[in-house]
């Protein structure tokens, strides 16, 4: 540390003159920038169209956001312990994620699953696994997000709630059942042709499920669109909103073209957004998103029900803002991002744990994340007043700007023939690649300061080791889980399994609107994730095994 360095520190200035996403900002905002924004028409009170200031009049005084940490440990038992631990420490809702094999729809004993069972989520092969995960959790009281994209998860959840005697009206659950391309575009599907194909073929099933759940389980939200994955690629706030809306609008268009009333479907739609660390840009993003959604639904889709017009969403604090270097300081990054989500009016929040860039969280890291939410809810004052940044010259001006930019991208995508066409044409991919390349260049050239990464660094050997949850897990338990599955497959009544699968296959082929009932029967009969996903693929003319290794076992 030289005298010169100390001197220059004293005279340090804020260097960044643009938002996290690269939108230029001025040094000061005045009434000049907001004079054309009419309160009644463009802003409105919280709880009133166009919902810029939030979807409820009293916001968090009515109900705090759901505090749900994404959870998926190496076995169902360990996952259950973690869920109960978090609930006992004040988490108010749950969010379960599957491991890689589960998410892709294969069983833990699949040859490709070697090494990935239970590594980044929980393996869910059977209804019994779901039973273990949810053991002792009152499903009539808890609100659940199933980030579990396996055909076994939702029907098993419904059956287990039934077993607990929960009335369908009391079941609160959200799950992303939207066909893959439309639900979680680009990320992880690599624009593969069969995903496009799958999305097209699954659209009818999706609509049927929407209707089924609307009728039978009014508080179950099966149409959750995932914008988090989009933002995690490194694109800006505007692209995050515009791209996922383009997806949702395309899906809604297809649905309404089939004669379904928009006010039947739209209230069931919800989103998962990301939130980065630029507090004001993120607040402006959420405010702008609510307006674009409300206006489009009203003006383009003719929706009338306020529940259709009000944008509902869950937020995960960004993973890409979490850094490996000096990892404990990620606690602070996540806290600022969480503050932005709450100032922006979210309904539900997951705060990333500081060890996110290393592995799935330790209990200690997960606890800190829950505590971050609680401090935010009860100590900071952020929850006391609806839209506390409303009226700020800067935030109002930025909101207006983001609104316009989101609309511009939506128009561009529409000109390209919709989101699926835009992905196919390579436009989305090119935009993504440009964005992350630019981001990384900015970091490497210090145009963008990231603490501990390109400034205020310490030698690697001095950087404290962070405890790694996975290194403490006894992986014999995972091996046992796989063995148990193999034995279960031998032990179960194969005639029943076969019949249930064949019924599901026929129902898929015939596009039976009550597909969920067949899925429930499969769960009861002891069918597995891989088998159910497999016959559903067969039902739309695709191979049983997405990896082309296994054959349908009951031929």
């Amino acid at each position: 540390m030289t005298t010169q360095q100390i001197k220059s520190r004293y005279f340090q200035r804020a260097l960044r003159k643009e938002t996290w996403s690269g939108i230029p900002v001025r040094a000061v905002y005045t009434p000049e920038e907001t004079k054309d924004i009419d309160y009644a028409h463009s802003i409105g009170n919280p709880g009133e169209y166009p919902y810029k200031r939030g979807i409820y009049g009293d916001m968090y005084r009515g109900r705090l956001w759901s505090q749900r940490q994404i959870t998926g440990c190496p076995t169902p038992r360990l996952t259950n312990e973690r869920l109960r631990y978090l609930l006992s420490h004040g988490e108010s809702a749950i969010n379960i994620i599957g491991d890689q094999p589960t998410q892709i729809g294969i069983d833990s004993d699949h040859p490709w699953a070697v090494g990935s069972v239970g590594r980044v989520g929980v393996p869910v092969n059977t209804m019994d696994d779901m039973r273990q995960i949810l053991d002792g959790i009152p499903l009539g009281q808890v609100s659940t997000m199933l980030t579990l994209v396996t055909p076994i998860a939702v029907p098993s959840y419904l059956l287990l709630a039934e077993e607990q005697g929960v009335a369908p009206n009391d079941l609160r659950m959200t799950s992303p059942m939207v066909p893959p391309v439309l639900g979680a575009p680009v990320c992880m599907y690599g624009g593969r042709e069969w995903w496009f194909d799958m999305a097209k073929r699954q659209m009818k099933e999706f609509i049927d499920k929407l209707e089924y759940f609307t009728k039978k389980y009014p508080k179950v939200y099966v149409a959750n669109f995932n914008a988090y994955n989009i933002r995690e690629t490194g694109v800006g706030a505007v692209e995050e909103v515009a791209w996922i809306f383009a997806n949702a609008f395309e899906a809604l268009k297809l649905i309404t073209e089939r004669g379904v009333d928009i006010d039947v479907v739209a209230p069931k739609v919800s989103f998962t957004f990301s939130v980065m660390i630029d507090i004001f840009e993120e607040v402006a993003k959420f405010r702008a998103a609510r307006v674009v959604w409300a206006r489009t639904l009203k003006e383009k889709f003719g929706a009338k029900d306020p529940r259709s017009l009000a944008l509902k969403y869950h937020v995960n604090t960004g993973g890409i803002i979490m850094e490996r270097q000096q990892a404990t300081i990620n606690v602070i990054r996540a806290a600022y991002a969480a503050l932005a989500a709450v100032l922006g009016g979210t309904q539900s929040l997951q705060v990333a744990s500081y060890d996110e860039p290393i592995a799935i969280p330790t209990e200690e890291a997960a606890t800190l994340a829950v505590r971050t939410q609680q401090i935010l809810a009860h100590e900071t004052g952020a929850a006391s007043v609806a839209d506390p940044l409303g009226g700020s010259y800067y935030v109002e001006s930025l909101t207006q700007q983001l609104e316009e930019k989101i609309q511009q991208i939506l128009n561009t995508i529409e000109e390209k023939g919709g989101m699926t066409a835009a992905i196919r044409s390579g436009y989305i991919d090119r935009e993504m690649e440009t964005a992350w390349f630019r981001y990384q260049k900015e970091v490497e050239t210090k145009q963008r300061i990231v603490v501990g990464v390109n400034e205020y660094t310490i030698p690697e050997e001095e950087d404290a080791d962070v405890a790694v949850y996975l290194s403490k897990v006894d992986f014999a338990l995972v091996q046992q889980h796989i063995e148990d599955l193999k034995q279960f497959k031998q032990r179960r009544d194969k005639t029943k399994v076969r019949k249930a699968l064949e019924d599901l296959l026929r129902a898929t082929e015939n596009e039976d609107p009550d597909i969920c009932e067949y899925e429930k029967e499969c769960c009861k009969a002891g069918c597995t994730t891989g088998e159910m996903a497999g016959v559903k693929r067969m039902g739309v003319g695709l191979p049983y095994d997405p990896l082309g290794v296994l054959q349908y076992p009951f031929d």
Binding site: V120, R324, P357, E433, W436, V453, S471
Partner: protein
């Protein structure tokens, strides 16, 4: 050797997180290397075969699924089976620091955990791409 360094990049196993590896591909291309990026969801066998057919100097893998140890083991076995031990094997991704010595002991030449400056990975590959091949040739 004046001709450009040839690099094969791809992901093996089920993990589909491809932002990191695609960014690496862009940076290596920017540095003048010839990059063949094969995408996600490959077997080790398929990648090793491609590496052999394309006669690359460097094989780069990326892991965000905490499955790096068994999958690198598979990759090294396949490389051995196809006589590719003289190629540089570099690995990146969400890899806990404690796993790095194990990966190196297995035979991985370098590990660049997420957060590594791109310039560092690029210059390492630049300098070491043909180290093992040249040694073999002498």
């Amino acid at each position: 050797m004046a001709d450009s360094i040839r690099v094969l990049l791809g992901k093996i196993g089920l993990d589909g997180h491809d932002r990191g590896i695609r960014m690496v591909a862009a940076w290596l291309r920017d540095a003048g290397m010839e990059v063949i990026y094969l995408g996600t969801h490959h077997t080790a066998e398929r990648l090793a075969r491609a590496a052999s057919e394309e006669d690359v100097d460097v094989i780069g893998l990326s892991f965000q699924g905490a499955d790096h140890i068994p999958l690198c083991q598979q990759m090294l076995e396949q490389m051995k089976a196809m006589g590719l031990q003289d190629r540089l094997l570099v690995v990146g991704g969400n890899i806990p620091r404690a796993d790095i010595p194990e990966l190196k002991r297995m035979g991985v030449d370098a590990v660049f955990p997420s957060g590594t400056p791109m310039s560092k990975s690029v210059s390492y590959i630049m300098e070491n791409a043909r180290r093992k091949r040249n040694k073999g040739a002498k």
